[in-house]
Symmetry: C2
Subunit: 354 residues, 2 copies
């Protein structure tokens, strides 16, 4: 059924029927024209853009007063767009440092003003999520990363604050229920749970904009894209289309509450095996374990070659851990079937019995 | 043979065998995995990136000392990246204003410093390319737009200058011979002659960088992307892959010298008809006519509905002129077959005879 079990951290597995439909649309999307050779100003693409937005709205129950954008440049460009739009001149922003991506976001924000790092879990190599940190009296916004792909940690309870809440949800958006009203700006690169690389989803509360006092380059100004319905310039047509298909697939399945249950089931299955299998151990603190990226290692490193070979033979792909953590990482995003996790568990059990 | 004759200005027609190959790769690119679900750090995608770069190098004879990048954000983001990287604090840049896109580039540059507009053809609604303009004594760079899609004009002879030469070649790169050594920075959105929307080609002379004295956001710093081989962050995998296929198609056909001849043949055929057909007229000054975008109109506007209907019946698509010029625009990029132009000419002749 699944020829290759794709545990890649991103770009990553997409639903099979989405791939089939995308493949067909490359040949004939509308009136015998390919999806990628029609004008982005044409009615068929306008419908794609509006459908994609509506699906985001429906799936996440986005309330009035928020705009939904499909941009380019990934989370990495958001690292600069956020302070450009939200950090006042001589202002202060508060960041939570939970890993490599948060560190990169902090680096970019420092080019615009003062950054206060509320808490940092680098001493434990980001194996946990800091809690009970405090906020300065005045700050322009707070920024956090909801899920840390490299370390396999995930914020289970977001801090409550009075200020502006910005969250990089690149690797767990659409995987679990969130209350949009708790956030003022959410951004996410598409290439985990939303679609292929090449577009970035931004959900933003309109009223927080226009207050930084900066002369923002048009392409970095959220208001530019809000005014033009994400079509100030030619949008990444293919990536937005495939994102639309993937969100439609999710809605058809039963939406966020359905997939959240599935994701919990899948993650529990794999974490249970890691905990009971005598030769493996998890690398993230239990209470902060990510339901998207399951990081683990062999207690005895000499068994790695054996495990790698067995994974290869079982057609398990993309399971190598990030070089900064080592070991293994099974990324089990929305589109990952439980069957692939069972194949992985089977290999883990066979190695234990050897 | 060609079910629809796609004269769209961009995104636009792509070679049929490129579409076929792209469609297949969405299903199975490598080891039964889709192109859009593999890691961008995997060897198969690394090869795509390196092949795409090598094809640019080969097709345009890019000399040593230049870097080739595949970025995101289109020409519109380049409008800001260029001054961020090249305009010194309190520096001056010189721009040639040949239309809407040049005007947008100027608007963004003004956010960074002084802009001198060397010449501006707005009084003739950009129907010609200014010539014989002068340069100030000192400036950080000169910026021009090689082809103006909206107005159907094209720079045939680039000015020679001692300073840094920056050119937006979005709509005619890979369509004609250029001497890369005459330029220091060339950029081009993919969605005309290179591939689908979603990536931007940048060819840059390394030695011009690092001199603006600005603290550039990492994603807007060309050096960031040079150091990481365009993989500082997740690249737009699909757009780069299809660009690679399109450049390979061009190389297989015979490269730039072959396609330049074809493009001249195709443009001549259509312009000859416009000039000899008594009911049509061209809108751009003859010596500045673009070989990519052929703009024309009916002398008698009341015939438009008739012409539109005849075009529809002949399956001619995307021929409506830009709203700022009116009339018609036939975009005849590299992948446009001469047969489609013949169909258009046939319709024009039939209307004349009516």
């Amino acid at each position: 059924m699944y020829k290759t079990h794709n545990f890649s951290a991103g770009p990553c597995i997409l639903p099979n029927n989405v791939l089939q439909q995308a493949s067909k649309s490359i040949i004939n999307f509308d009136n015998n024209l390919s999806l990628i050779e029609i004008s982005h100003r044409s009615q068929p693409f306008d419908e794609v853009m509006n459908n994609a937005k509506q699906l985001v709205k429906d799936l996440l129950s986005v309330p009035l007063g928020y705009s939904i954008l499909f941009l380019q440049g990934g989370a990495s460009l958001q690292f600069s767009m956020v302070p450009y739009n939200l950090m006042k001149i001589n202002g202060t922003a508060v960041y939570l440092n939970t890993g490599t991506w948060a560190t990169k976001a902090i680096k970019e924000a420092k080019k615009f003003g003062n950054v206060v790092v509320a808490a940092d879990s680098c001493e434990s190599n980001y194996s946990s999520i800091p809690k009970n940190y405090t906020f300065p009296k005045e700050y322009n916004y707070f920024h956090c990363t909801s899920n840390n792909t490299i370390y396999g940690t995930q914020i289970k309870n977001f801090p409550s604050l009075n200020g502006i809440m910005v969250c990089d949800m690149s690797s767990d958006i659409f995987s679990r229920k969130i209350n949009i009203k708790d956030f003022d700006l959410i951004y996410a690169g598409a290439q985990k749970n939303m679609g292929p690389a090449g577009t970035t989803l931004v959900i933003i509360k309109d009223e927080i904009l226009g207050k930084s006092g900066r002369d923002i380059p048009s392409m970095l100004d959220y208001n530019t894209h809000i005014e033009k319905n994400s079509m100030f310039n030619t949008p990444p047509v293919f990536s937005i289309y495939v994102s639309m298909l993937t969100l439609q697939w999710l809605k058809n399945l039963g939406g966020i509450s359905y997939i959240e249950n599935e994701n919990i089931k899948k993650a529990d299955l794999l974490y249970n095996e890691i905990d009971k299998n005598s030769i493996f151990e998890g690398t993230a603190q239990k209470e902060d374990r990510s339901n998207m990226n399951v990081c683990f290692k062999l207690k005895d490193k000499s068994k790695e070659q054996d495990f790698n070979n067995m994974c290869n033979n079982a057609k398990i792909s993309g399971i190598k851990g990030h070089r900064s953590v080592g070991g293994y990482r099974a990324s089990i995003y929305n589109a990952m079937p439980i069957e692939s996790i069972e194949v992985l568990i089977d290999v883990m059990q066979k190695l234990e019995k050897k």
